[in-house]
């Protein structure tokens, strides 16, 4: 984990340093963008202020000192502390994604079980086809379509076009505020849910089918246990195991946020923050966003490995390399 983190931070550092004079143009507004033959007095001052006149290895070590002391300093654009900016963005992204994961899992596990139990029937075939189509629909296109048909005034003016709350939010009573917030959640959460839900249901189905065909389920049936016990106690618990690892695979996008969806729906989450700071050459924010999201991602993968070991005693940590 630690070498991975070092690698990620090093790559980010060099990606930033490779950009053409990113750090002097950033905080100077439109005039700073014009081509100039040399550094003027103001630029020199700015470089000295941000420590950019120092040699590269000094800057690199300083970056590590800042990361290890959790001192990310301030944004170069609006001069607010970086941690405050992330503290605003991360909960939004986490909230959205936790809701999404919750909905996805609570739909796709029962649906997968249902499909596995009716395998080969016509309705199962129908559901599978619909899921296959849902899985292939590009998310940002679906986002545009739902915005167009459910959000714009020309068709069904049912949901707000963007943002998290209405402009008159502060004047509402608390239960109206909750309703207003939920009302803004519907479209983005719908778009985030449908794709992974299709994928997970198909996955759950095959996993459950495999469990149904296994020896211990046959044994349980032969013992004369009733059908419900066999399905929900013996088969279901074991078929959920692969879904636990899938959660680890979902994590990078959960924490990093979806750049595209957050842009379309104007959600001020991590994805939008990362995108905006890259385009504004806001280096301190970039470093912080990348390091925090990669650390959380690694933690997530680590946790899902542990969860995997906890639910499946056949797997031990040392064996992982052989298995992968």
């Amino acid at each position: 984990m630690i070498p991975t983190f070092v690698g990620i931070i090093t790559i980010t550092f060099f990606l930033i340093k490779l950009r053409p004079d990113a750090l002097t143009t950033a905080s100077m507004g439109p005039d700073g963008m014009k081509e100039s033959s040399g550094l003027d007095e103001f630029q020199t001052k700015m470089r000295a202020y941000y420590g950019l006149d120092q040699p590269l290895h000094v800057q690199y070590l300083k970056l590590w000192k800042n990361i290890l002391t959790l001192d990310f300093s301030e944004s170069r654009i609006d001069h607010r502390p970086v941690l405050t900016k992330i503290g605003e963005a991360l909960p939004i992204t986490l909230f959205f994604n936790l809701i999404t994961v919750f909905i996805v899992y609570s739909i796709s596990i029962p649906l997968g079980v249902y499909m596995a139990l009716h395998d080969g029937a016509r309705r199962e075939h129908l559901i599978a086809t619909v899921l296959y189509i849902l899985y292939a629909l590009p998310g940002f296109w679906v986002a545009l379509m739902v915005l167009k048909y459910f959000g714009s005034a020309e068709y069904l003016d049912m949901f707000p076009l963007s943002g998290l709350v209405s402009p008159y939010f502060s004047k509402l009573t608390w239960y109206q505020q909750v309703a207003d917030f939920l009302w803004h959640l519907v479209l983005p959460v719908f778009v985030m849910v449908y794709g992974s839900f299709a994928f997970l249901s198909r996955y759950m189905k095959s996993s459950f089918l495999e469990a149904l065909r296994s020896d211990y389920v046959r044994t349980a049936k032969a013992k004369g246990l009733n059908k419900a016990t066999v399905i929900y106690v013996h088969a279901l618990r074991n078929s959920v195991i692969p879904l636990v690892t899938l959660l680890g695979g979902l994590l990078p996008s959960l924490i990093g946020g979806s750049v595209i969806l957050e842009r379309i729906f104007s959600i001020p989450g991590m994805g939008k923050l990362a995108y905006d700071s890259f385009y504004a050459n806001d280096d301190t924010v970039i470093i912080a966003v990348v390091s925090i999201s990669s650390v959380l991602t690694m933690l997530g993968i680590f946790l899902s490995d542990i969860a995997y070991m906890a639910v499946d005693p056949r797997i031990r940590y040392g064996m992982q390399n052989e298995k992968a």
């Binding site: 189509i133 940002f140 296109w141 970039i286 690694m298 993968i301």
Partner: protein, 344 residues
């Protein structure tokens, strides 16, 4: 006599494939996309394919007109192509000409015709799928976009395959210290937010089709590398590999001649799914405005312009989305089919 026999043969083949459970429609769409991609400049062009009545025109303008401006425009550079508005001449009745599928070029703008809805009936020259905000024909842009999207995705996946196979095979074959170093590297690329990495690299480079291919390829090789690593680890202890080693074959010979062919099956499955993924990534990047460079059309690029007019321009949202969807589902189907074939 001959043509019907050929058709019957093709029909037999299709029926046999269908009995076998092959996704025939996916093959059909794949053929359609590849055909559209390769023939894109011919399918949509403002130059007519054939001028059959030019006597009057030549007398009036004094130009020596080539019989097929379209074919000439394919050979000549843009500057050499004579700027003649053939469509106007045809609708005025001065010349008679045959156009190909779409009589518009994806780049030409008709500002007076901006945001026209699709029209199937009416005058001779119509925009089947409407026009965008600069008056460019959406159908022409989608056809040229098919070429760009497929080219970018296929080359990107090819690059990813090269990187992934090289890295994965090295890790899997040599194991030990090499393997753990490479596994860390793969881990880094996986944990790095993918789209952010792409955006960062695209911000460094000038946007061009080549850079786009390289960036997508450089960020999507991890799955392939992990797969190849696992497969190589599985295969390297087989008896036939051991006997090749006993015969004194070099490491590279063992890897390339004896091990890698055994991984081709599972690899083709991943490659098919990766193409679908790359199409999505390309269109997403073009949608964000950092994909294909500006005058070049792409499916995502048409969607991007549609985003500015969500209320009126439904044709700019619907058609490119359907194309992306069809491509993705086609490659997914082919991947599923390959998986069935190579199921162990």
């Amino acid at each position: 006599m001959r043509a019907p026999r050929l058709l019957a043969k093709i029909a037999d083949r299709i029926a046999a494939a269908r009995r076998d459970g092959a996704p025939v429609w996916a093959y059909f769409f794949l053929f359609l996309f590849v055909f559209t991609g390769t023939c894109a400049p011919v399918l949509s062009s403002s130059q007519p394919l054939l001028i059959y009545d030019k006597a009057d025109f030549e007398a009036k303008s004094g130009l020596s007109l080539k019989r097929s401006p379209l074919l000439y425009s394919l050979i000549l550079s843009d500057a050499q192509v004579e700027k003649i508005e053939y469509r106007k001449l045809v609708s005025k009745g001065e010349i008679g000409a045959v156009f190909t599928l779409i009589p518009y070029s994806p780049y030409e703008t008709e500002l007076e015709n901006y945001l026209k809805a699709p029209s199937l009936f009416g005058s001779r020259f119509k925009h089947y799928l409407g026009t965008d905000e600069n008056g460019r024909d959406v159908a022409a842009r989608l056809i040229r976009g098919t070429r760009n999207s497929l080219l970018v995705s296929l080359v990107a996946v090819g690059l990813a395959l090269m990187i992934g196979i090289a890295i994965g095979a090295t890790a899997g074959y040599f194991g030990g210290y090499v393997d753990s170093t490479i596994s860390r590297l793969i881990e880094i690329v996986i944990c790095f937010p993918k789209l952010i990495l792409i955006i960062a690299v695209m911000a460094l480079k000038k946007p061009s089709l080549l850079n786009l291919m390289i960036v997508i390829g450089l960020t999507s090789w991890t799955g392939i590398a992990r797969l190849v690593r696992g497969e190589v680890m599985r295969v390297r202890n087989y008896d036939y590999v051991q006997s090749a080693r006993a015969m004194g074959a070099s490491n590279w010979r063992i890897i390339f001649i004896h091990i890698l062919p055994a991984t081709a099956g599972p690899l083709s499955v991943t490659a098919a799914f990766d193409v679908a993924e790359a199409v999505l990534t390309e269109s997403a990047l073009s949608f964000l405005g950092i994909g294909v460079p500006i005058p070049e059309p792409s499916w995502g690029d048409v969607l991007k312009t549609a985003q500015d007019f969500p209320d009126i321009a439904w044709w700019m949202t619907l058609f490119p989305g359907l194309l992306i969807f069809l491509t993705v589902i086609t490659f997914n189907q082919i991947g599923d089919r390959l998986r069935q074939r190579f199921a162990r």
